[in-house]
Structure formats: structure tokens, C-alpha cells
Symmetry: C2
Subunit: 230 residues, 2 copies
């Protein structure tokens, strides 16, 4: 049996990253999941990440602590800023206060370092540029620019032993298509946490941007979200 | 008096980053210094960074802890890998074991996040592509690619409030020119630590790549390095 190629997959424990992990598994990669603790309000997502990693058989699951000092000014990291609820996402055009400064850049940078250590060429990230909150670091042009930079950054790439590919398999999908894909791959969405402000037990609020998009995604597939809501 | 523009300056406490900080100051920026603790052997450089930051009047000095789990396999982070001594740098063409995976990418990503939080557009990094150890993330094409990515990554950039510039003022200079520039700006190099393996008091070994380059840089300026050696 040939050796599986190693992949590093960013895993938050939410719907998108869990689906991305299942896609990487279906593509035959050996899975290395990377999760961050960065002072986020929704720490129950770390428990969700652990459940999902176990269920999908990842070989390594690394939880990295990020110093929250540089990531201030977001509703996801600062308890003094309220998470917006019941926004009209069809008309909203601004980037909301849930944006965390340079978050995906920091996440992908750690993934890049770990990939070089592991000898992996493939990085997976569950960003999505259709049904999303308008974050700049979720767009295809950002991902392309990161990949280009990454291939100039590492010793393994420069020496020709590594050709980095940033896989963003959800980037052109609607939330409904993402849910359909995950269901087809057998993802148990009951164990994922997407909400920006879940309660301590992990039950979702049902009203933040992330909940709204998720609920609509399941509804478009003719089903109810199996995850718990308050 | 007009408000000074904010700059984020990566400061390790070594010769290059201390010179870079002095250059940013001479250019009139308000200084925000960013230093990392990442399990490096030479933790005395953190003390050097604090001394230099104070001497140059930085307004904020943030020391960020980086989880060393992803940065393994380097002589700078792993006590089991020996720091090379007395290499012939005129003939050495390989990237040495002191390379740390994706280090500058992680450092610049944090700087980017902090810059957005502070409203800064200018990031300074003391990389150098002439008298250096051959690290890929010190080359002009890497810095250019990072800048391009950065301008697609942040909310402030996408909204037109931020036009990120990565300043690498030393990148085309020899070590002798760097020393000359710092001396002209009044940098007290006696408080800096460059060595890859200094002793506990901060005295340099005199034989690693970093020491060799530094000693030659002072000699070319007709003087001895004022920093302590073992």
C-alpha cells in the first residue's frame, strides 16, 4: 500500500472546517488537524474540534495557544463588544465586528510551519466566499496570495522538496452545498459548533450570522440542523 | 505638531533588528516593538530587546509567546541539534539547521494583526539577504509576496483605510554597512545580542554564523564589537 500524503487541516470544530476535514480524508490524505485557542468566546468549539478529529480518525491533533494580545477589537475575542444578532445578511455589506485581525493569516502561518516540520505539501482551510460574513481573508485572491508567499517562505519549498498547495474546497460553495457535501461524506454535524456565542454547554444561539447561515443551509437540504440550540 | 504615523517593528534584540528600530525612529515613526518568545535557546535576546526598546523610546513593547510545538527541527529551538560553529560562510550554500520553519511568516502575521489593531500601515523587519544564513524568508521576493498577501488580508486594507508596507531597510546592505548605519544613528550595540548560542549572561560564542558575520561587520568599520564575548 502506498504511503499516504500528509495534509494539515485547520479545524475549528465548526461546520465548514469539519466538512473540509472530511473532504481531505475522502481525498486520501493522512490527517493532521490544527486547532487554535486564541481567547475566543466560544471555547466549546475546542471540544467540538476534539470530537470531530476523533470521529474522522486524524493521526495528529495539535491545539496551539495564540497570544490574544494582538487579536483585540473583535466581538469574538472581546467580551465588551456584542455579537450582532439577526442581521439581514442579504443586504449587509460591511465587514462585521466579529472579524478578528489577520486571523487566517496567523492560522495559515502556523499551518505552514507545521507542514514543513511534517513534510506535508497540502494545507486545507474551510473558508467560504459565498455564504459568509464578508471577511477579507476568506476570499480566493487572498488564498492565492498566501499560497504564492508560502512557496517562497520555507526551506523545503525553496529546496524543491515541497510544493505548497492551499486547498479551500468550500470557497465557491453555498452553505447548502457544503451541508450536502458533508452529509454525503457522513459528517455528524450534531458534534460541531458554529455559533459565535454558544452557551457553556455548546448550544447555539440561533441568531448570529454563523447560526443564520447554518440554519438556512440545513433548511435548503430539507432538514433541521442536528446540533443543539438554546 | 502633526501626529506621528505608527509603525510596528519586529525586534529580536539583535544587531539587525536594533538597527532597523533606529531607522524607523529616524524616519519619524511612533514605535511599537514586537518581540517573540518561541522556545529559542537564546532567551537572553529577550532581555536585550527590552534594553534596546527602552533606549530607543518605543511607546509600546509587546512580547508574544509562540507555541513552540510547530517550530521544531531547528538548532535554535531544539537543544538536541547542535548550533554549527566556524562554518566557512564564503563557500557554504546550504540553508543551515538554524533555520526555523516559517518563522518570519509567523512573526509578520502577528505584526500584521497588531498593525491593524493599532491603525499602523508600516511594518519593519530587519532581514538581510547579503551577509546572512541563506534563510528563504529573508529574501526580497518573499517580503514582496508577504506584502501583497497582507494587503488582501485585513479589513482595514480592503476598506481602504490601510495600505500596508513591509519595510526591510537592511535587505540590500552588507553587515558592514548595517553596522555603519547603526553607529551613525547612535545605536549602542553593546546592549544587543546576536549570537545563536550565548551563555546565560548573554556573552556571545564568537563562532556561530551570526557571530562570524557580526564580528566581520565591526572589523570592516575598523572597530571591535562592543558586546561581550565568552
Amino acid at each position: 500500500m502506498p504511503t499516504q500524503a500528509e495534509a494539515v487541516v485547520l479545524l475549528s470544530g465548526g461546520l465548514d472546517s469539519s466538512t473540509t476535514l472530511a473532504i481531505a480524508k475522502a481525498e486520501g490524505f493522512a490527517l493532521n488537524a490544527l486547532t487554535f485557542r486564541y481567547g475566543q468566546r466560544h471555547e466549546v468549539e475546542l471540544q467540538a474540534a476534539a470530537r470531530v478529529a476523533k470521529a474522522l480518525g486524524v493521526q495528529r491533533h495539535l491545539v496551539v495557544q495564540i497570544d490574544p494580545a494582538v487579536l483585540q477589537g473583535s466581538a469574538l475575542t472581546d467580551a465588551h463588544i456584542a455579537v450582532p444578532k439577526d442581521r439581514d445578511l442579504d443586504t449587509a455589506s460591511d465587514i462585521p465586528v466579529t472579524y478578528v485581525p489577520a486571523r487566517n493569516t496567523i492560522f495559515l502561518s502556523y499551518a505552514l510551519a507545521w507542514a514543513e516540520t511534517l513534510g506535508a505539501q497540502d494545507l486545507f482551510i474551510g473558508v467560504n466566499a459565498l455564504d459568509y460574513s464578508g471577511y477579507p481573508d476568506c476570499r480566493p485572491e487572498y488564498i492565492d496570495a498566501f499560497q504564492r508567499m508560502a512557496n517562497l517562505a520555507t526551506k523545503a519549498a525553496v529546496e524543491g522538496r515541497q510544493r505548497l498547495r492551499i486547498h479551500a474546497p468550500l470557497i465557491e460553495l453555498t452553505k447548502a452545498q457544503i451541508v450536502a457535501k458533508g452529509l454525503a461524506l457522513g459528517v455528524d454535524y450534531g458534534m460541531t459548533v458554529t455559533c459565535y456565542e454558544p452557551d457553556a454547554a455548546g448550544a447555539a444561539c440561533g441568531h448570529c450570522d454563523a447560526c443564520q447561515l447554518r440554519i438556512a443551509g440545513f433548511r435548503a437540504n430539507g432538514m433541521e440542523d442536528p446540533a443543539p440550540y438554546v
